[in-house]
């Protein structure tokens, strides 16, 4: 049996995994990254529009700061987020952008003076300040009060992962490509690494590590129509789930992006709307202002997606040979803007639709886009129930997104969580108590168990076809666990998914070899995907309220009284066909921003009994510290102690200059 030893095993070579590994490595711990694909091909690359960080450089971002970003994010989450984590995030995001700027990300920069932009369908002239010349620029995104989304044209994730992956190479961090983790090695209390399969040779080995981090991204491929890459199959989620110990949080919270191109589902960025693009119906009518007079096209994604589907149901969709869709119109932005700031969009339209978005409208319809739920961790990024298991990025439920993520907050989360959790991992490895005492018998047992499971596919003579089961699951999820959900649909979905799970236990292979074998890969993945799909469907079925992206037609209200809590799903036994659900209440009494109206979307919700009391307490504290936003915040909800020391401290802005010499030394990075 081949065993690889390392301090830190990072599963997933996207932005979160890379940044986490860099953090751990710079603290002196060896890290190995496992990746299904070369790191730079990870799905992080597909983030187009940008990364939110309250730099406030552009005129329309003036007055932006951590407080505004915090409120936008919490409102976006429909109060599902962990507010302490959101605070950690918004305070670190500007530092992350600046670190990336130093690492070579070609952020688009501010040009001083007048420029013409499109706002609400009108040409508007904005004057950028002289002192902003050359600083990182921001664009508008949905659900935000200020222009906050930093971007590199519309290839932001691409530029970011180039820079971060290159830093990982500079730090000599090995990326073991085409390697797939099949199971986490654990004893019920602590995680010791993973059983890993070489996708080229089929060989199994054990990677034994002090700390293991799941950074595997989303689970979009449990759906048929998704913007996600084909590798986003939720396998990291399944790894944690199959331990039976660590939990998945809020898996029913699935985001649908308003503008997947129709019918392929490939994403065109929110930046299209942020930069002034409009949604139109079959009559060429701009319909969003009818539903959302305030934020219009730039309400949060869950709201815009629902409004679009609602409009289609009213018969206002355009009928095409592939089905019904709406239109995204960016022709008003002009050729120059599209060719410089929306180049990938142009490329995608050109190659996949044969459409020139400079002259024609783009056919769009909402498509599955983001998995808000994931491996439940505490604020440090560690599983509360399985020591030594960490998670960061989309795979995690660190919980800064709650039930709906804002555009631009996901790539931001990847690097910010990578920075923070990287430190936690290093702290964990530093602690003597965690010195590796590897139970080798356990390691062997796990490898043999996986070996036996694989052998069963080739020998047991099962008759089920893996890709057929996968297809049925995807269709079912898209049809029944989509944007509009009902109890009946969800029950049907849960029932059918369970049957599919049972069937998946007798998959047979037409090409029964254990080496490089795509069919075998589909076979063992579909079993895991079904478990993940069940956490989504079952979680949605039980949650009888609507919150963020989770919308129940039979329970259209947000119900804080009963449901201001996080779903925790675990998978107790191998023979089970349903996850075990538990709930973790969110403490209104500690919230900096007590639940209320989001500022867009439906206005009716059922209050939590503690909300009024907390609301008046918050108002009292605000009055007491009026004029000092830092003191106010510290009094409302202290969080800085949760951050690694070097990430504490304020962020300088044009409007919040540091006086020379008032900088705490601790905030210097690059240890």
């Amino acid at each position: 049996m081949k065993i690889v030893h390392t301090d830190v095993l990072v599963i997933g070579g996207g932005l979160a995994g890379l940044r986490l590994a860099i953090g751990a490595k710079r603290r002196g711990h060896d890290a190995i990254i496992l990746s299904l694909v070369p790191a730079k091909r990870s799905h992080s690359k597909a983030a187009q529009g940008g990364m939110q960080a309250s730099l406030g450089n552009v005129a329309k971002g003036q007055g932006d700061n951590e407080d505004v970003h915090f409120e936008d994010t919490v409102r976006g989450s429909d109060w599902g987020a962990d507010q302490e984590v959101v605070r950690m995030f918004v305070n670190t995001a500007p530092k992350a952008v600046r670190e990336l700027a130093a690492w070579g990300v070609p952020w688009s920069r501010v040009r001083k003076g007048d420029r013409t932009v499109i706002i609400n369908g009108q040409k508007v002239t904005i004057t950028e300040r002289d002192e902003a010349q050359g600083l990182v620029a921001q664009r508008d995104f949905g659900g935000t009060k200020k222009w906050r989304t930093c971007y590199a044209a519309d290839g932001t994730g691409h530029a970011m992962i180039n820079a971060v992956a290159d830093q990982a190479i500079a730090d000599s961090i090995p990326v073991h490509e085409r390697m797939e983790a099949l199971a986490l090695i654990h004893d019920g209390n602590r995680c010791y690494g993973a059983v890993v399969r070489d996708l080229v040779s089929g060989e199994l080995s054990a990677y034994v590590a002090t700390a293991t981090a799941v950074c595997t991204g989303g689970a979009g491929r449990v759906y048929r129509t998704t913007t996600n890459a084909v590798i986003c199959e939720g396998i990291g989620h399944a790894l944690a789930l199959e331990t039976g110990v660590s939990a998945l949080g809020n898996m029913e919270a699935i985001q649908f992006h308003p503008t997947g191109i129709f019918p392929a589902g490939i994403l065109v960025t929110e930046g299209c709307r942020g930069d002034g693009g409009l949604l139109k119906d079959v009559d060429g009518h701009r319909f969003m202002p009818d539903y959302e007079p305030e934020k219009k096209e730039l309400a949060s994604r869950d709201v815009v997606s629902r409004r679009m589907e609602e409009h289609i149901k009213k018969g206002k969709g355009h009928q095409s040979r592939f089905g019904t869709h709406l239109w995204l119109d960016i022709t008003l932005l002009g050729e120059k803007h599209i060719h410089t700031n929306l180049r990938e969009v142009w490329d995608i339209c050109h190659y996949f639709l044969g459409v020139d978005p400079v002259k024609e409208m783009i056919p769009v319809r909402p498509a599955q886009h983001y998995t808000m739920g994931g491996v439940r961790t505490d604020a440090s990024g560690q599983s509360a129930t399985l020591k030594g298991l960490f998670s960061a990025g989309e795979a995690s439920c660190w919980d800064m997104h709650g039930f709906n993520r804002l555009g631009g907050n996901s790539v931001a989360e990847t690097v910010v969580a990578g920075m923070i959790v990287g430190e936690s991992v290093a702290d964990y490895c530093d602690a003597i108590a965690n010195a590796p005492t590897v139970p080798m018998g356990l390691v062997r047992e796990f490898v043999e168990r996986e070996q036996a499971k694989l052998a069963a596919f080739t020998k047991a003579g099962g008759k089920e076809d893996a890709s057929v089961i996968k297809g049925e699951m995807q269709d079912l999820m898209t049809a029944k666990v989509g944007i509009f959900r009902t109890g009946a649909d969800l029950e049907e979905a849960v029932d059918k998914l369970q049957k599919l799970l049972v069937r998946s236990r007798s998959i047979g292979l037409r090409s029964p070899t254990l080496g490089a074998n795509p069919e075998l890969v589909t076979a063992y993945r579909v079993q895991r995907m079904l478990k993940v799909a069940l956490t989504v469907a079952y979680g949605a079925c039980v949650r009888t309220e609507s919150r963020g992206a989770h919308f129940r037609q039979d329970y259209p209200q947000r119900n804080d009284a009963e449901w201001l809590k996080r779903t925790l799903a675990t998978w107790k036994g191998d023979a089970d066909t349903l996850p075990t659900l538990a709930y973790e209440a969110l403490d209104v009494g500690r919230m900096e921003l007590p639940p209320g109206w989001r500022g867009y979307g439906a206005k009716d919700y059922i209050d939590h009994p503690d909300t009024p009391a907390r609301q008046s307490a918050v108002e009292a504290i605000r009055a007491q510290h009026a004029g000092d936003r830092f003191a106010t915040q510290a009094a409302l909800m202290p969080y800085e102690h949760l951050l690694p020391e070097y990430l504490r401290g304020r962020n300088e802005r044009i409007d919040e200059r540091f006086a020379d010499g008032d900088r705490p030394a601790a905030a210097t990075t690059g240890q």
């Binding site: 070369p38 690492w103 070579g104 952020w107 290839g155 995608i348 996949f352 037409r510 990075t669």
Partner: protein, 250 residues
């Protein structure tokens, strides 16, 4: 939907695919033909996935983003390296020839190890920003950068490392140590980046030989097949001038 009323006659496509699994001791390279009915809007991603699901579960190929941005699916399509995911079958005749990218290590069938090659190139050419100073304070306002320069850097940073330029390069096919247009473009990119402290003297150490910029014979295969339309011709010429100036001075 009106389309359902008039069933259309779709073309029968014939995919001629080079099959070979180097991991199997007894395998020999051969061309296998698969027939598939064309569907509207069909890309090679859709077609190959269908072939694998319905006709041959053992067929190996790589797709990740299927949106033309990750660079995983470079392959020889009717003789030219290109991204399969965004190649629409309509633009081809009924016979479509698919082969793995040459130069790179073959994993099996259409799957090649571009990742290993690119990592090796990156390590050799040190394709990362070499900071002027070790410690930076990220709480302070970032250093300004000329907006036009940032756009120029982004332009070169758009490379997706798909390997098409390498497969389309006569030099790379003859000489395995040649860094290819992808490598030269990266050097041009970091050379342009004011955050990188390296000088032409440093860059000469990396590409100032026949495995680097002087190995390029200006066949421009790279430029003509680049799926991202990077200005490789211009950049390599520019780099050649700078490296010759560096190499012949003093």
């Amino acid at each position: 939907m009106t389309m359902n009323a008039t069933p259309r006659n779709h073309r029968k496509l014939r995919f001629h695919i080079l099959r070979y699994n180097p991991a199997k001791a007894d395998d020999t390279p051969r061309v296998q033909v698969y027939e598939l009915e064309e569907a509207p809007g069909m890309t090679l991603f859709i077609a190959l996935t269908e072939i694998r699901e319905k006709l041959d579960p053992s067929l190996q190929f790589d797709f990740v983003c299927r949106a033309g941005i990750c660079g995983s699916c470079g392959m020889m399509i009717n003789g030219r390296p290109s991204l399969a995911c965004r190649s629409v079958t309509q633009s081809f005749p009924e016979d479509i020839w698919l082969a793995p990218l040459p130069v790179f290590e073959l994993i099996g069938d259409l799957s090649v190890n571009t990742g290993k090659w690119m990592r090796g190139m990156s390590e050799k050419l040190e394709t990362w920003v070499h900071l002027q100073q070790e410690k930076l304070d990220f709480t302070r306002i970032e250093k300004p950068m000329d907006p036009a320069l940032a756009e120029e850097v982004y332009e070169l940073d758009r490379c997706i490392e798909c390997g098409c330029c390498v497969a389309g390069c006569g030099t790379a096919r003859m000489r395995e140590d040649f860094v290819g247009a992808v490598g030269l473009n990266k050097i041009a990119r970091f050379r342009l980046d004011p955050r990188d402290a390296r000088t032409d003297e440093d860059f000469y150490e990396l590409v100032g030989d026949d495995n680097g910029v002087f190995g390029c014979m200006s066949l421009l295969g790279c430029h003509d097949v680049c799926p991202k339309q990077l200005p490789l011709q211009t950049q390599i010429a520019f780099l050649r001038r700078k490296m010759v100036a560096q190499g012949t001075k003093g």
